[in-house]
């Protein structure tokens, strides 16, 4: 790469990075000021004094403890259970030879192209019949089903890379297929499973549309729903709103910053040849 080209692209890079990070800077800056300060001195002015008071205020006024509890509960159950069900299905699709294999795989992958939209009304009616409408645990089933296509795709791809000899050896030792999966295949798939855990945690924490339709009581709201109503209630208390946004995205940011190298591999696994 010649020098001149390098310099131009480096400046372009810095410029674009500043543009991308700019909204984050605005949010953080606003959250550290008082309403009075923001309104009178403008959004770009340095804080008159830095205050952290907006965070406990937002936490309390926005009832974040309720929403955090709900979001964490659903993540803790949905993510492992969903990935486990996906692994169960991905194993035969990767390691058995049977006639319907390709058809079945295509059937599961079709889910990647189905928007949540098309099942919202029928699921509302179905969940109501099961007494699961407006109940945190009602979210579990649709959440799991919409996670499956991508997880099956990624896990099947990974399982196929595991040598057949290892699988056959375990079978000869008398393992059932389930035990082969549990004791041989899954332990060798830790990187893929870890990537899926992280991605699925983010997706579950962030999900909005289904929660909006299926949950109405405040006591079952998840964090995105809670943030939405919080913003509606305190629309013009800018520092409090921005502090609330930061509280709502905190777990996602922490997971992303600490674990991003694991989950980047997961995203690309679903999109490219190994």
């Amino acid at each position: 790469m010649r020098r001149g080209y390098s310099n131009v692209s480096f400046f372009l890079l810095i410029f674009l990075t500043l543009l991308v990070l700019f909204p984050f800077a605005i949010v953080v800056l606003t959250s550290l000021r008082t309403q009075q300060d923001v309104v009178t001195r403008g959004v770009f002015a340095p804080p008159e004094f830095v205050t952290l008071q907006n965070f406990p205020d937002a936490w309390r006024m926005g009832r974040f403890s309720v929403y955090y509890k709900n979001s964490l509960s659903i993540c803790l159950v949905k993510v492992p259970l969903g990935i486990f069900i996906a692994a169960l299905a991905a194993y035969p699709l990767a390691k058995y030879r049977f006639q319907l294999r390709e058809t079945l795989l295509a059937f599961f992958l079709l889910g990647l192209g189905i928007p949540v939209n098309v099942v919202l009304l029928p699921l509302t009616i179905l969940l109501k019949k099961l007494y699961l409408l407006d109940n945190l645990w009602g979210l579990l089933f649709p959440y799991i089903v919409f996670g499956l296509p991508f997880q099956i795709l990624v896990l099947r791809g990974f399982f196929r890379g595991i040598p057949d000899e290892l699988v056959d050896a375990a079978r000869i030792d008398g393992c059932t297929e389930f035990l082969v999966l549990l004791r041989v295949v899954l332990p060798l798939s830790v990187p893929a499973v870890l990537a899926l855990f992280i991605m699925d945690f983010l997706a579950t924490w962030n999900e909005f549309l289904m929660a909006l339709i299926f949950i109405h009581s405040d006591k079952w709201k998840t964090v995105p729903l809670g943030m939405m109503y919080f913003q509606g209630q305190f629309a013009s208390s800018y520092p409090i709103i921005n502090a609330g946004v930061l509280l709502g995205i905190l777990p996602v940011v922490v997971v992303y910053v600490l674990l991003q190298r694991y989950f980047v591999s997961g995203i690309t696994a679903g999109a490219l040849k190994e």
């Binding site: 390098s6 480096f10 372009l12 890079l13 674009l16 990075t17 991308v20 909204p23 984050f24 605005i26 949010v27 403008g42 959004v43 770009f44 996906a86 169960l88 299905a89 035969p92 699709l93 795989l105 295509a106 599961f108 079709l110 990647l112 192209g113 189905i114 928007p115 949540v116 939209n117 098309v118 099942v119 919202l120 009304l121 029928p122 699921l123 179905l126 799991i144 089903v145 099956i152 795709l153 791809g157 059932t176 297929e177 999966l181 962030n206 909005f208 549309l209 909006l212 729903l225 939405m228 995205i249 996602v252 992303y256 910053v257 980047v264 995203i267 690309t268 999109a271 040849k273 190994e274």
Partner: protein, 288 residues
Amino acid sequence: MQMRRFLSRYWLLFPALAFYGVFLVYPMIFSFIVSLYRWDGLSPAKVFIGLRNYVRFFSDPTSLLVLKNNLTWMAFMLSIPVALGLILAVILNEKIPGRTFFRAAFYSPTVLPLVAVGIIWSWIYNPTFGAVNSFFRIIGLPHLARNWLSDPGVALYSVILTGIWQGTGFPMLLFLAGLQTIPKELYEAADIDGATGLQKFFYITIPSLRETFVVVISLLMIGSLKVFDLIYVMTWGGPGNFTQVLSTWMYFNTFVYHKAGFGSAIAWITAATSLGVAYPYIRIMSRR
């Protein structure tokens, strides 16, 4: 006996199949049936009207505006994030200082909850105190300040800009992964032949990324047909219906206006289109 052997091997598929059947396939069929009726979604009174809901969608000016808005959204997502993502990927594929940081920065908006993204940008677009209008006032161009989210002429583009901010990291990451599969020898051979950087880009990089392009375009089209959260949080489809897209329009018809039949027809039009554009992606993925 044979049945037992079959079950002991294949039961692993059943939980996933059961979830699919009960929570995806059955609801989809149900939704298609509903789309053939005039129904409010609650009362027992249902009137069968065949495909009239579909005909209505394509003859109703508001629905056509919604379709146009969604296609505009898609056109922007397929051009700017794809182009930017590719440029960033090419730059960040070089060994430059701070490469990991830059990659993480460009991808970071993608991991946020869209509700948070919507709230953040509603603040940035705030007509009185927001960053955009404050910026225009500070640099002495106050006439450029406007109601970004309630001016019918710009509202859709304001939300699209937010979508671009949020959605550029994803194609970037896919292109980066694609770039890493291109053999270095190709570039070395081109160097020996005296190719310029641009020549290498157009004759090696772009053609080698053909499959990545198919995947990126397919996934971004699916994503564009799903867009809901940003619109819901930032504009609620307004002003008028100038930012209404297919999924919000489906939501309003089904759950707010109680036109469940019409809403389900919108959902099915969206789903059929989405499955159509997902097809090349699914084919590539199941071929491996």
